[in-house]
């Protein structure tokens, strides 16, 4: 049998072409995968954003003198726990993946506190069941209306 006159494709050629085709298809599948990851990240960001607003609003709802300066971490910001040793308590919706932190600073002018700067930071997992954490930060100023 004289094989030099055969015109069909060899097995190696077919396998190689399939390999090239898989390499081309791989980025297409990766696009779907990265789309899923992005949606998961957006969901985590939305939950962190909602938690940050919840913490921020409950603090700025208090009278100015009750907004005590200090730093509070996720060990202190717990549902029903006292805020700065006062009768006011934290209200935190159940979300074990999020780690909130709160910082309140006084801004003085002529020895009077004119503003309080409130910074809320929520650490959240970048994707579902991920150990990598990201931070979402929200800041605002509360004016002293008594001066």
């Amino acid at each position: 049998m004289n094989r030099s006159h055969r015109t069909g494709l060899s097995l190696i050629e077919i396998v190689l072409s399939m390999g090239i085709l898989s390499l081309i298809m791989l980025p297409v599948f990766m696009t779907f995968s990265s789309g899923n990851i992005n949606i998961q990240v957006t969901e985590s960001e939305f939950r962190a954003h909602t938690a940050a607003l919840e913490l921020m609003e409950q603090i700025i709802s208090l009278p100015f003198k009750l907004i005590k300066a200090g730093e509070y971490d996720s060990g202190q910001i717990i549902e029903g726990r006292s805020f700065a040793g006062s009768p006011v308590i934290f209200r935190v919706s159940d979300n074990p993946d999020l780690k909130p932190a709160l910082k309140i600073e006084e801004i003085k002018r002529e020895n009077k506190v004119v503003f309080k700067k409130i910074t809320v930071t929520i650490a959240y997992p970048s994707a579902r069941a991920s150990d990598r954490m990201r931070d979402f930060t929200l800041k605002t100023l509360v004016a002293n209306e008594d001066i």
Binding site: H5, E54, S61, P87, S93
Partner: protein, 191 residues
Amino acid sequence: MKTSERRVTGFTLTEILVVCAVSATFLATAIMLFTNFRQGYSRSENVAVLMQESALFLARLRTDLNNAVLSGPSADFLRQIQAAPDQLSFNVYSSRHGRIQPVVYNYAALPDGGRLSRREANEGERVLIKDHVASLTWQVQLERFATPGSGTFRIGLAIDLQLKASLGKEKPFAIKTTIFPARLNRQLNSR
């Protein structure tokens, strides 16, 4: 002509079978991968749509509650937000109209997915979420803290919302939060 000089140009049966087996394996893997990715993507897409709807609803409600103001008879000052299972109402200051006017949210629980709508003053009702609400509760939380003086009030509205896709069998998208109307709380405590 001798038969030994005949030229063979086709594939052998073994070559064809091997190529078929390799192609079938490759195609099966590709189809399986594509189906899995497509299902995952479709699931995530549903979550994204539900998340967007809940985000828009919460943003709308938060804006309204931030515009909520003290109104009504002074004896009734703690009942600024009225919440029933199917209706939520309170008064807001509308800067566009320059007056205080009521805002009403209605929730209709339906077997195929509830509907959530909003109405301001005498304007027409606008649907915020159509057929996707699996469950919704809103509860007014009134707290009174024993601080020096007459104490401190804080009103909050606890929301527990679950949305589900119309056709999907995936688990609903759920979010819980409490909205504290800062302006209303400040007015309550400066009375």
